[in-house]
Amino acid sequence: MSAGGLTQGPQVVLPEPAVDAGRGTRAGRLSGRAARAKRRLSNPWASGIAIVLGILWTIPTIGLFITSFRPESDIRRSGWWTVFGNLFTGENQFSLENYQTALYGSSTNLVQYFVNSIVITLPSVIIPITVALLAAYAFAWIDFPGRNWLFVAVFALQIVPIQVTMIPLLTAYVDVGIAGSFWTVWLSHSIFALPLAIFLLHNFMKDIPSSLVEAARVDGAGHVTIFFRVVMPLLVPAIAAFGIFQFLWVWNDLLVALVFAGGTPDVAPLTVRVAEMSGSRGGDWHILSAGAFISIIVPLVVFVALQRYFVRGLLAGSVKG
């Protein structure tokens, strides 16, 4: 999920996790599991490594999270870990003041950028998914001349880093007179998403039994009807999987927004503003900590709520690098 670009490295359909795949007899599986569980518990090294890594991975976030609720003077004076030592002395003060300042303070005003992030993200998710669904359908189910090599060409476009496209695109936007508006950001995100989206959705489309589509055709349905009545309902999980990817990618993106939206408060999303604050107000941790969590919270909630689809998409080889 970097600002790198579209290149999805490898396209592989990994084997589905065999969690539910019933292998052998139930009893055999259970005894196998029991044996493993026993082995696992009896290996203190494994547990030790797991615990150490788990703690290492969590502490940085917890540190900044606790900091975001501490008063500015405390943040400057002492480390966040002193909070635990002061737990029973009553010296700790926690408040939402940092969030108040970051969101509504005249010099930060993150609430405005929060709106921008939402306005940028929604169309940038809806448009590419729709366009890609139609294209993927045509590549999978409509027989037209040049279909195969066109599909290979779209597939190959995934390796183009978006950096390669930026200056000419920006020039084109300036010529048309839409530079620095939401339209350029929507358009850019939508186009950059297409190769991966078409490839991924095409994979899922191919899995639909052709008898279903044939039957609908025999009944006299046109492609548009088949697309909406037969294919779409079956693709909901795939759409959800790619939708989350695209959502996280757009919301967390810095490069596209920086280049096409510029630094203007009217268009720039949270990432641009928070990155800018990190440079210009690098020592103001009361604002930075709150600002970071304001920009993190939405993707985190979406991610936790829809993790199941995300993992499925990941395992289907849809990784935007």
Binding site: G9, R76, V160, Q163, T165, S181, F293, Q307
Partner: protein, 329 residues
């Protein structure tokens, strides 16, 4: 109609957004309605209706600008004069850019290997343990956090306060040094180790990705193979070395190459932490600096093309490995 381009208030912005989505729905609806006449419309027209919008977008947004950039990389900073390979010569000989290339090489060598290793070890040790779901979530969550957010989280870990009496360190890492009796360090400024501390941020983000894919691959190893190995006396590290790793080799290649490509294009982390100062710049960051800060379009274009060329061998390797894996099957 100015508000469509210069929306100011939140209401106007949401208004523009609604207009955009509505416009899109209307256009797509019109196209589909036009081609939805079974038997009266030739098949190729239907195909154009379905594929046309996507191909148009790709041609305008990827193919055409890509070609223009390749052309620009042979022109000077304003794009007026043809300079041959001068931009590339600069990128590969100038001292400043040699540091950029060296950093990029370090990133690509270190980040994928360590992320994959950590992801693999973690996937193995938590596999089928009682807390597997929770344990995985801990490593997994950084994937939802933007690189900007992650950079700020880690900048706080690296925070430095001058080593004076009465001044307490507020960055965790420096406090650890102080507790150990060592002087605090400016982790993001002291060369050449600052690049390593930036790489740590990417490893922190990417390990969850590696763990997820590798964990799925490990679970797909047939039980009879591990059972047979166990009967032959393999345990612990032996099992890991001779059964687990060879069985998931294709997945390992996928994970390594994917993270390598992400690493090549890493921009946000460098931009947010040091903005490429103190000898930490990488190709993707230098592209941005040259193109949009130094206004050197030619050099920026050359750097973008270098990025493009660096990605290709990784993908070729990946595709060849996949072919091999399929033949074995």
């Amino acid at each position: 109609m100015d508000w469509l381009l210069e929306a100011g208030s939140p209401a106007q912005k949401f208004g523009v957004m609604a207009v955009a989505i509505l416009l899109f729905v209307v256009v797509m609806g019109a196209i589909l309605f036009a081609v939805d006449r079974p038997k009266r419309v030739p098949r190729w027209v239907v195909a154009v209706g379905f594929v046309g919008p996507a191909l148009l977008g790709l041609a305008f947004g990827l193919v055409y600008p890509g070609l223009v950039t390749i052309k620009n990389s042979f022109f000077d900073r304003s794009g007026a004069e043809f300079v041959g390979f001068d931009n590339y010569v600069t990128a590969f000989t100038n001292e400043q850019f040699l540091i950029v290339l060296r950093n990029t090489a370090i990133w690509v060598l270190v980040a994928p290997v360590l992320s994959t290793l950590i992801g693999l070890v973690y996937a193995v040790v938590v596999d089928r343990s009682r807390f597997e779901r929770f344990a995985k979530a801990l490593i997994f969550l950084p994937m939802a956090i933007s690189m900007v957010g992650a950079s700020i989280i880690w900048r706080f870990v690296y925070e430095f306060k001058p080593d004076q009496p009465g001044v307490q360190q507020t960055g965790l890492l420096n406090q650890l040094l102080v507790w150990l009796g060592l002087p605090p360090q400016q982790f993001l400024i002291n060369q050449p180790w600052n690049t390593v501390f930036l790489i740590v941020i990417l490893i922190w983000i990417q390990s969850g990705f590696a763990m997820t894919l590798l964990s799925a691959a490990i679970k797909a190893i047939p039980d009879d193979i591990t059972e047979a190995a166990r009967l032959d006396g393999l345990h612990g590290l032996g099992m890991f070395r001779y059964i687990t790793v060879p069985s998931i080799r294709p997945a390992l290649v996928v994970v390594l190459t994917t993270i390598a490509i992400t690493t090549l294009k890493v921009f946000d982390i460098v931009r947010t932490t040091t903005a490429g100062q103190f000898g930490t710049s990488v190709v993707a960051n230098e592209f941005y600096t040259q193109s949009f800060r130094q206004n050197n379009a030619g050099l920026g274009a050359a750097l973008a093309v270098v990025l493009f060329i660096l990605v290709i061998p990784i993908i070729v390797y990946n595709v060849r490995q996949l072919r091999l894996a399929e033949e074995v099957r």
